[in-house]
């Protein structure tokens, strides 16, 4: 069965500092991986996705993620965090033929200090 682990429930960083959110997955075949962001009172918005090719994926809002097959990880990074990045972040895994059956991690809440 597929699963996603986000080890950090809550992370606090200062504005302008770098950010890394961790994601580990378990999937029997080639994984199709996502990072979503949820701002307060909003639905989930896709930041980026990865299936194949360059293992460093660029997304919206200056985010990037690196796929490491050997570590079963898909960590999200941003070099300089803005106050508007405060939100909840979800990592997800699915089959590339059916993103609708995504399995989500429990989420990481990001707080940004001024």
């Amino acid at each position: 069965a597929q699963s996603v682990t986000q080890p950090d429930i809550h992370i606090t960083v200062s504005e302008g500092a770098s950010l890394e959110l961790r994601c580990n997955y378990s999937y029997g075949a080639t994984p199709y991986l996502f990072w979503y962001v949820q701002s307060p009172g909003q639905g989930l918005q896709l930041l980026l996705k990865y299936f194949s090719g360059d293992t460093l994926v660029q997304g919206i809002k200056g985010f990037e993620a690196e796929f490491k097959r050997s570590q079963s990880s898909f960590n999200l990074r941003k070099p300089s965090v803005h106050w508007s990045d405060a939100a909840e972040y979800f990592c997800a895994v699915a089959s590339y033929t059916n993103a609708g059956k995504s399995t989500f991690g429990d989420g990481t809440t990001l707080t940004v200090k001024p």
Partner: protein
């Protein structure tokens, strides 16, 4: 861009009431999903539908049913609401193509008193 609209942002119901959560998408997507979101538990799939009048159970279907009479609309039904169904409910749609993504609505925060 695709729009997924959930009819209510906040809903307060009493135990035992029948509750309808409505979701409409405007991009002719065949696939629609209902998720439940609880703190520390991420998103869990309740039901999904690949076509009109078609439905399949997700990971946590107990206490819920769904209806899909038209392609654009997918309803989640709580036949007899209970306090443990207090949660954020998210609807999503998906075109069904390979390497596509889910489009989410803004969610309905349901409180059952």
């Amino acid at each position: 861009d695709v729009k997924v609209t959930q009819s209510s942002r906040y809903l307060v119901k009493r135990t035992g009431e029948k509750v309808f959560l409505e979701c409409v998408q405007d991009m002719d997507h065949e696939n629609m999903f209902w998720y439940r979101q609880d703190p520390g538990l991420g998103l869990r799939l309740i039901y999904f539908s690949y076509d009109v009048k078609m439905k399949e159970k997700g990971d946590i279907p107990e206490g819920y049913s769904v209806s899909r009479e038209k392609k654009e609309r997918f309803s989640l039904i709580l036949e007899s609401a209970s306090t443990n169904q207090t949660s954020m409910y998210l609807c999503a749609s998906y075109a069904g193509q390979r390497l596509e993504k889910l489009f989410f609505g803004s969610g309905t925060q349901l409180s059952v008193l």
